[in-house]
């Protein structure tokens, strides 16, 4: 349904443009739940914005395409995009606190979106607004409420209700649970999953908390410094992470069960993207670094359905043979 290929986004700053998303390819099938994880600054939010065509200057897509239901969104005009946005593809922003208008009631904001997409009858607007609010487990009386009267969890659910106004095919979520505590977080995640089962939309879910998507996503993209580090079925990555970075992310979680083990996390910080290192971008922080990592940038390799960008898995001859390179359509 969504096919992103070789997408590259650059921020035009000064002399060196900063490449925040570098040659990223993935696809989302109807009804799938795809998780994107990585640290802050790895380009995951930029990638989302690029997919939804919400980038604004100085960021721009410099290469690649975003094919959504057969249309390349990158080439579409603003008007044609407007028809697709919200109807077929909607976005849930990171902070519901800031994404909802504080001086309009929730219902007025719902009505605004519905009217903009051609629903004119007041009755129909009210009925649909109440319906989506009920979907996410909020009493429709709250259509009259203002955002500050709702709790953080309810605001976030109201945002999701708003994204579902037109039963879209794809909902893009940018860290929707980051402001919530664990109990509210779990209830929101199970609810997203339930709604997905009922309505059948696909989800792209961006987060820096890998444990959050472990039980909910079908496929996982691990991003590092603008590139895909590893991508594949979620369970396989959790059971057997190939990239040292994915392994590090997974081992960064203390557990509430089992023996207490000292953890290290991932020392260091991601590289400055305006000065891209020669070899592997993760090499300075990598516990499995080899001499060639400093000089050879690793290609994205296909390992039985899991794509991984690491020289550990490169054929012994050094660079990967062309046939080994993962194709966009892999998995």
């Amino acid at each position: 349904m969504l096919d992103v290929s070789s997408l590259t986004v650059e921020y035009a700053t000064g002399k060196n443009p900063v490449r925040a998303v570098d040659d990223v390819s993935f696809h989302v099938d109807a009804g799938q739940f795809v998780g994107i994880v990585g640290e802050s600054g790895c380009g995951k939010s930029t990638l989302l914005f690029a997919v939804a065509q919400l980038l604004s200057a100085p960021a721009a897509i410099t290469a690649g395409s975003v094919e959504f239901r057969g249309q390349d969104l990158v080439a579409l005009s603003g008007r044609r995009l407007n028809a697709i946005r919200w109807q077929n593809l909607s976005v849930v922003m990171q902070s519901a606190m800031n994404a909802l208008n504080p001086v309009m009631s929730v219902g007025a904001q719902f009505a605004d979106a519905l009217r903009a997409h051609g629903m004119s009858s007041r009755k129909a607007v009210a009925a649909r607004s109440a319906e989506v609010l009920r979907l996410v487990g909020i009493d429709p009386v709250h259509l009259k409420s203002y955002p500050h009267q709702l709790s953080g969890g309810m605001r976030q659910r109201a945002m999701i209700a708003m994204a579902l106004l037109f039963t879209p095919d794809l909902v893009i979520m940018d860290e929707p649970t980051s402001a919530l505590d664990v109990v509210a977080q779990r209830s929101l995640m199970t609810q997203i999953k339930e709604l997905q089962r009922e309505i059948g939309f696909a989800v792209i879910f961006v987060t820096h908390d890998m444990s959050l998507v472990s039980h909910y996503s079908d496929r996982l993209l691990v991003m590092y410094a603008g590139q895909l580090a590893e991508a594949g079925p979620t369970r396989r990555i959790f059971d057997n992470p190939l990239h040292p970075y994915s392994r590090g992310l997974l081992e960064a979680f203390p557990s509430i069960k089992g023996p207490k083990v000292p953890l290290q996390g991932i020392p260091g910080a991601p590289p400055d993207l305006s000065i891209i290192p020669n070899g592997c971008r993760f090499a300075p922080r990598c516990p499995a670094k080899m001499p060639q990592c400093e000089t050879t940038p690793p290609a994205l390799l296909d390992r039985e359905g899991v794509r991984v960008r690491c020289l550990l898995y490169a054929p012994a001859s050094g660079n990967a043979a062309p046939g080994e390179q993962a194709k966009e359509t892999a998995q």
Binding site: D181, V183, Q185, D209, I256, K257
Partner: protein, 344 residues
Amino acid sequence: MTEPPSVTELLRADRLTRHFKIGGALSQGTLHAVDDVSFSIGEREIVALAGESGSGKSTVARLLARVYRPSSGTVTYFDETGNGRTLSSLRSRRAGLRYSGQVPMVFQDPFSSLNPVFRVSHGVLRALKLHRPDLSAGERRAEAARVFDVVGLGAAMLDRYPHELSGGQRQRVGFAQALATKPRLILADEPVSMLDTSIRIGLLNLMAKLRDEEGVSILYITHDIASARYVADRLIVMYAGQVAESGPIEDVLAAPRHPYTQLLLSAVPDPKAPPPSTEAVAAASGERGEPPKVIDPKPGCRFMPRCPVSVELCGQVTPELKPLGAGEVACHVAQTGAEVKAFT
């Protein structure tokens, strides 16, 4: 509060209460942010204060930092000689400064808690000038270098500006500032919640190091139970302004007795566990309650509306925190000796 005899008490809160007046002239109400909270913190101890947003944990920190005055109840601080004084008796500027130097605070947001127009050494040097006036300029610089070293930044970082530092480094600056005043207890209000999971561990390790090597106690306020377990010695769980359960952290986590503690633990995502069964997911999605805003509360257990095991008594009498096993629990059902299995 029962304490193992080896731990020297550093600070004790007794029936600490803070109410806020809210609403306009026609809708006056009293928000009970913190109600009857008692606990103590010992020397060389990390105490985790956990709870949902709105449970009053930050208000407790602000009461301890003397940002708010308690509506009732007391906080007693024991100085190096073991002399206990209540915070409300610290009237003079000198006594207040001395206390805030020994009990500094580290804030949640490392991006807004550092002044962007000054080098990061600014805060540390200012704190030193204010709290340790006996030091010369050179000694202050040397001390700033020392605390930067302790928190793992290195003296070279002193001359950087906040924007040149990553979130994790900035939060280390926060700890360096706290450390500069020779603290005995650091109040850390969600110090890692704004950081990436991959660098949280580094900060948690730093907190453990401060306890083990510098002998500092820490009140670690968090909603992340897994990270609390990683560093803390004791756990205090708050719900709607009251303590629900407290005790040695391993004991509480191995056998949580309060239904709310059980709910909190069951919601922690565990990537190593197998995916939850469909029944478990269905049960969890039935759980949509929210912590109440405690405005003019009536007697009774505040968790009752969300509690699957509540009895009649719960609606009539507010449960007191009473010793049970190795810790203390405020739950009528658990206090009868019955085994509570509300959420698994």
